[in-house]
């Protein structure tokens, strides 16, 4: 018998129907203890405990314990595409006695406990566990062990279930789940039932996200009802100042304050009770710098002065969510913009800039302006309805992104590797090459962009046209041509081809093209 939480994850994993998933979640919430519920929320919102072991240790121990040679274990792993599942499959039938039932809280406590053990003790403990758990629980347990646990549904479904369970608005639930909290010190009641105003200063609001524009821009109605801005290619952030403390959150709900001390110092001049929504960019002389510079900053906590000077950053603010400690989200965008302009004068506020408005008479002029996005170092335009409130999550209707078409180039498929998850055992991860002095030079990897049907066809091609195998990677006959799209390009000393692409992906399969007709590296570099 599986534990309730394992059944829940299996049901979520197995079903394609949103309603089934919400139903399963609700059933679990209605019966679970508060600590189990809190851990469930933590897992759904990416608050996993620290992983107690690494994948290499796990492979070695599992091969040993299952009595097969390491090479055969690797063969199995190659087919399954997932360490946690491979182990579960190898052990499932060996469990002959009573299966062990652990609650979600107990499992999480074991994860925390294991961190403190020596390697030998961990090994001994896991060998025992692998034999005691049923297949699905074993799989999930292993996922927690390696920190690879991902739930195949959006946080939105959990919010829906919690909203039904607690009979509270889903926007409020979303808000309550944000920010820094961990199940090790928070309680279910403290997180979801206590007075919102009493919650921590650092708690951000849920971000409002846009949809790509559908159809003709004219269909949005009168241009006067819309606010147009550049769509910047940076990181969406929320800047909070409350009780003399400043917090910077990324859209991925990561607290990145420590990475940007200069912004923190600057933002301390803001009045208390201020929350700004904006874009974090590498920025110099009133213009954005390449995204790669920003990337250097994101990966570094407590950066040196040298790095701060080499990669200067700024926030382009475009919305005001809290002013004087009062939630502004239900006010119209125009009202919020007025307050924002009061706070940050249009001629700048140093490291916090005001996102400029693009004011034109009609849609035609805006359409022309959009074509200048690249020279403005923007990805396109944002269109926001002036009368709209600040909603939570991705919603259609009031916020649209209108990106410029991606740059693209035709390239040849040269390497393929099996995917993971849904695509395990299919060759879905590809490396592409361009012609360079008569040879094919790899320049980009891409995973997405093909239909399921096309994936099967390419998979068949790879299996039948393998030239060499290097571990999980196969080199294939250079024959298939794909159109690769990307958002940006810049020089890179780290890449052998000399350039790095931003967001490369497959736009379409050029079945009409022969490999000789693919583009050259020189042609790619012309786009620099």
């Amino acid at each position: 018998m599986q534990a309730d939480w394992a059944k829940l994850f299996e049901a979520i994993d197995a079903s394609n129907k949103t309603n089934d998933k919400v139903e399963a979640l609700l059933n679990y919430l209605n019966l679970a203890t508060d600590t189990d519920k809190l851990w469930l929320i933590a897992l759904f919102t990416g608050r996993k405990p620290k992983k107690p072991i690494n994948a290499t240790e796990m492979r070695t121990w599992a091969a040993q314990a299952s009595g097969i040679e390491p090479w055969l274990f690797e063969e199995c792993y190659g087919v399954v595409g997932d360490i946690a599942e491979t182990i579960a499959l190898l052990f499932a039938h060996k469990n002959t006695g009573e299966t062990l039932q652990l609650s979600l809280t107990e499992v999480m406590q074991e994860m925390i406990m294991l961190v403190g053990l020596t390697a030998d003790d961990k090994h001994a403990f896991l060998e025992k566990r692998w034999l005691q758990l049923d297949k699905n629980t074993c799989f999930l347990y292993n996922k927690f062990l390696t920190g690879g646990f991902r739930i195949g549904v959006s946080q939105q479904l959990l919010v829906q279930a919690l909203s039904k369970h607690l009979k509270k608005e889903s926007a409020e639930i979303t808000h309550r789940l944000m920010g820094k909290w961990l199940p090790t010190y928070q309680t279910f009641e403290g997180l979801l039932l206590s007075d919102l105003a009493q919650q921590e200063d650092s708690k951000p609001y849920p971000f409002y996200l846009s949809y790509p524009i559908e159809g003709e821009v004219e269909s949005l109605g009168e241009i006067q009802d819309w606010q147009a801005e550049w769509k910047w290619d940076g990181i969406r952030v929320q800047l909070i100042k409350r009780n003399n403390n400043v917090y910077l959150w990324s859209r991925g709900e990561e607290l990145i304050s420590e990475n940007f001390p200069e912004l923190l110092a600057f933002a301390s001049h803001l009045p208390n009770g201020t929350v700004l929504d904006g874009e974090l960019l590498a920025w110099k002389d009133q213009a954005p710098l390449p995204f790669a510079l920003l990337q250097k900053r994101i990966t570094r906590k407590k950066p040196s002065q040298k790095i701060i000077e080499a990669c200067p950053c700024a926030i382009i603010a475009y919305d005001l969510l809290e002013f004087n400690g009062v939630d502004q989200r239900l006010n119209s965008l125009s009202q919020r913009r007025d307050l924002l302009e009061e706070l940050i004068t249009p001629n700048g506020f140093g490291l916090i800039q005001l996102s400029p408005l693009l004011e034109v008479e009609n849609w035609n002029l805006l359409t022309e302006l959009r074509l200048e996005s690249r020279s403005q170092k923007a990805e396109g335009l944002m269109l926001k309805r002036k009368s709209s409130s600040y909603q939570s999550g991705r919603k259609r209707g009031d916020w649209w992104k209108w990106k410029v078409n991606p740059m693209h180039i035709d390239a040849v498929l040269v390497y393929a590797q099996k995917g993971h998850g849904r695509r395990a055992d299919l060759y879905t991860d590809y490396t592409f090459a361009l012609w360079n002095e008569g040879k094919l030079q790899t320049f980009a990897k891409a995973y997405s962009g093909l239909t399921d049907k096309e994936i099967i066809a390419v998979d068949q091609f790879v299996k039948r046209n393998t030239l060499e195998k290097f571990g999980p990677v196969r080199t294939v006959t250079p024959q298939l041509v794909f159109q690769i799209g990307f958002e940006g390009i810049q020089e890179s000393a780290r890449h052998k081809c000399g350039v790095a692409l931003r967001f490369p992906r497959i736009l379409r399969w050029r079945q009409d093209k022969k490999p000789e007709e693919a583009n050259t590296l020189a042609e790619l570099k012309q786009l620099l």
């Binding site: 994993d13 055969l72 063969e75 998850g421 849904r422």
Partner: protein, 345 residues
């Protein structure tokens, strides 16, 4: 041409030169001994087909009028001085292993096989051999089947749950073999059981060959009311086609050994996956190889490189053969593609 003695691998398939016959050739070749009726083993274009009587009916149903001759299990037939005998392979009704012997050499070609009872096929029988040509579709230690009773209990439970909500249960399984195996093991007390046209036709063919197959109802007799809470069994090719429309509301499930892996389960985007295979799992493959007493083992379709290497560590002379057999495939077999349009109405 790869030669190992009595049986060779040629471009057209496994061939016995001394007897001048092929076993499951994949191109028009000549005289053919057929292990079973699946389309990757019984192909059109042979001058004569020698097989088990059940397989004969299947071949005639699938390939039309071809020249066939039958042979019962365990009966030895001399062909140009070579002794040929069929033994049950336990894969599907009528499936056979082929023993070919002359002098000191005894070869067994397994065809597709499984070693656990499925309630419909004659159970697999281990045969002594000097050379064993084995399939190994599931030749990795991650494949370990639960008993049919356990899997069918899960399926019946799933069906009963759906039925209690007034929802139909659609199970996708090969029209030949897997479908009948499931039909015979479902609990008819739960509700009505329907079958897709391709399955109905195959049921009839097998019945004519003397196989007992549960009497499922044809979908043309189904009304919205009678379909409610029923179970419908259909070939994999019917998944996601407009044919499904009339069955709404429903939940879907695949019954296949590949369902052991989460990745393939999700790839099929079915609501459930039941791990039910007509091929041998890791334990069965190892037991079958051992039981033949063969020193030389040749592996055809499946994880043959890994299984061959493993057998080498167990002191067998193990080799991979490059054949065109497919084993259990999640994609459609041609026979099923051709017939999937029929069914409702």
């Amino acid at each position: 041409m790869q030669g190992f003695g009595l049986i060779q691998l040629t471009a057209k398939g496994l061939y016995c030169a001394e007897g001048d016959f092929y076993i499951d050739p994949w191109y028009p070749a000549g005289k053919a001994i057929i292990t079973h009726g699946h389309s990757d083993h019984a192909r059109l274009g042979q001058t004569a087909y020698l097989c088990h009587p059940i397989t004969e009916k299947v071949i005639q149903h699938r390939l039309g009028l071809v020249q066939t001759e039958t042979i019962a299990y365990a009966e030895e037939r001399m062909i140009n001085g070579v002794g040929v005998t069929l033994f049950p392979a336990g894969h599907i009704p009528g499936s056979a292993q082929v023993r070919v012997r002359k002098g000191s050499e005894t070869w067994v070609v397994s065809g597709d096989y499984k070693c656990h009872a499925d309630g419909i096929s004659e159970p697999f029988e281990p045969i002594a051999a000097t050379h064993f040509i084995s399939e190994c579709t599931f030749g990795l230690p991650i494949f370990n089947w639960k008993s049919q009773a356990e899997v069918m209990a899960e399926m019946n439970q799933w069906w009963a749950h759906n039925a209690s909500m007034g929802i139909q249960s659609v199970v996708f399984a090969y029209a030949l073999g897997k479908a009948q195996r499931i039909l015979n093991a479902l609990n008819p007390a739960i509700g009505k059981i329907y079958a897709h046209g391709a399955v109905m036709a195959m049921n009839q063919t097998l019945r004519e060959a003397g196989v007992k197959v549960f009497q499922a109802e044809g979908l043309s007799d189904g009304t919205k009311e009678s379909l409610k809470g029923s179970l419908i069994i259909a070939p994999p090719a019917a998944a996601g086609t407009p044919w499904m429309k009339k069955l709404e509301p429903y939940r879907t499930a695949f019954a296949s050994g590949w369902m052991a892996m989460r990745g393939s389960r999700r790839w099929q985007s079915a609501d459930r996956g039941f791990v039910l295979s007509d091929h041998a799992d890791w334990k069965e493959l190892n037991a079958a190889v051992k039981a033949t007493g063969a020193e030389n083992v040749f592996l055809t379709h499946g994880y043959k490189s890994a299984f061959a290497r493993y057998l080498q560590t167990q002191n067998y002379n193990a080799f991979e053969l490059d054949t065109l057999f497919e084993g259990e495939s999640l994609n459609n077999k041609p026979e099923e593609e051709a017939t999937h349009a029929s069914g409702l109405g």
